[in-house]
Symmetry: C2
Subunit: 222 residues, 2 copies
DNA sequence: GCATATTTGTCCGTATGTATA
DNA sequence: CTATACATACGGACAAATATG
């Protein structure tokens, strides 16, 4: 999925595949933020040696999902209000920059249309968990509009960190539901080529989402 | 300097400090692009064990400075034309986004003024090496305008990769010299608060620089 | 195309220092 | 303050893949 695999062949070393698995567990909320990850325990849990696990930890700390505390071990990061503010600041810059490159017929734009419709459907069915997943995929596709592998990988890391924030919050419902309409509207604007309107629509989305996340975060972590 | 150190204390583990040292060697051009880094040799060269060195490699591959080839080892990346295009695409988005936040009196803006003047001086003295260093510092300060630690660290990685490209080229002179004037002009526009003019000035810089780097790259690597 | 040497990928055991109960 | 637990780092071992003659 992401770009932590080796070049050329899609082969992943043991460290890379375990990193991918732990990454999935992290964004699924299986590990609590702030929790310590013991080398001994995790190595046993995944059936790998401690040396290999330390390579895994180096990968995941580089992705801002784990953090080292010297001589104390690695811990799951617990993004605070400042982190959320920063993440949304970067999102704003990256996503506004990306949709400048939107041109009709771009594969990513087609995908955005599909995802917007899937989001409407999932929202209608009340499947909030899927609404959240689709929503993030939608914004990921938005960044793909500008055909920049580096920007996409940066954005992936941002989204992973943001998922970690979501994992701290208790309600999956109202965190994504209000935005499916905005997404559909945004796609329409991009398809019609009205970039300035799309930008302000995006700004509205980001501001609204940021405030909701901040409020939920301050309302207390579960 | 960069953010690969552990949280809380500024202490760096052995892997982190060796990674920083190798990183310096890489951007100084001490290792040739495409060169293979033998685990045995490099471990001996730096007086560390293979296990620790593999952690170092994980850090540096995460920073796009090295790349794994499965069962063949790690190699210094050799950015090609596509990489340069992508780097400048991301630079454009990030830097244009960053200067939107420029307000008079921002510490980063003060620093940009200082660096612009230092660049003029170094250019007058014909010290091209220092002109290049100052130029990159100038653009780094530009990104600091938006007070986003995440965007800054992303930009640092981009610049490190770009330095790797410079290391492939033979002339350090004409790659930076023509831009010192543009830098000074850009600072003036930002200080006067004329963001739109600053943006077009920045666009002119990036386009010019990108073309020069691409031309030098196609003219042949040393 | 084959046999051999080299190197990676991964594991284990262990010594040392640091933090914590 | 001592003792225990753990992170840090090292060296050696071995199979598998790769490079070399």
């Amino acid at each position: 999925m992401t770009n932590e695999m080796s070049i050329e062949t899609g082969y992943r070393s043991l460290a890379e595949s375990v990193a991918a698995r732990i990454r999935e567990l992290l964004i699924a909320g299986e590990f609590a933020p702030g929790q310590k990850l013991s080398e001994h325990q995790i190595a046993a849990q995944f059936g790998i040696s401690r040396n290999t696990l330390r390579e895994v930890f180096r990968l995941l700390t580089s992705q801002r999902l784990l953090a080292y505390m010297p001589n104390r071990g690695v811990f799951v990061v617990s993004p605070d209000e400042a982190a959320v503010l920063d993440i949304y600041r970067v999102r704003s810059i990256i996503q506004k920059g990306a949709i400048q490159a939107a041109n009709k017929g771009h594969p990513a734009l087609v995908r955005m249309r599909q995802l917007a419709e899937q989001g409407e459907k999932a929202s209608f069915d009340g499947n909030w968990r899927q609404v959240g997943t689709i929503n993030l995929e939608f914004h990921r596709a938005m960044v793909e509009l500008c055909d920049s592998p580096r920007l996409c990988s940066v954005f992936d890391l941002l989204l992973a960190e943001l998922r970690l924030v979501f994992g701290q919050l208790d309600d999956g419902a109202h965190l994504h539901e209000p935005y499916v309409g905005l997404n559909t509207g945004l796609v329409g604007l991009l398809e019609s080529g009205d970039i300035p309107a799309a930008v302000s629509q995006l700004e509205a989305y980001l501001l609204k989402s940021e405030r909701a996340v901040l409020a939920a975060l301050q309302r207390g972590r579960r």
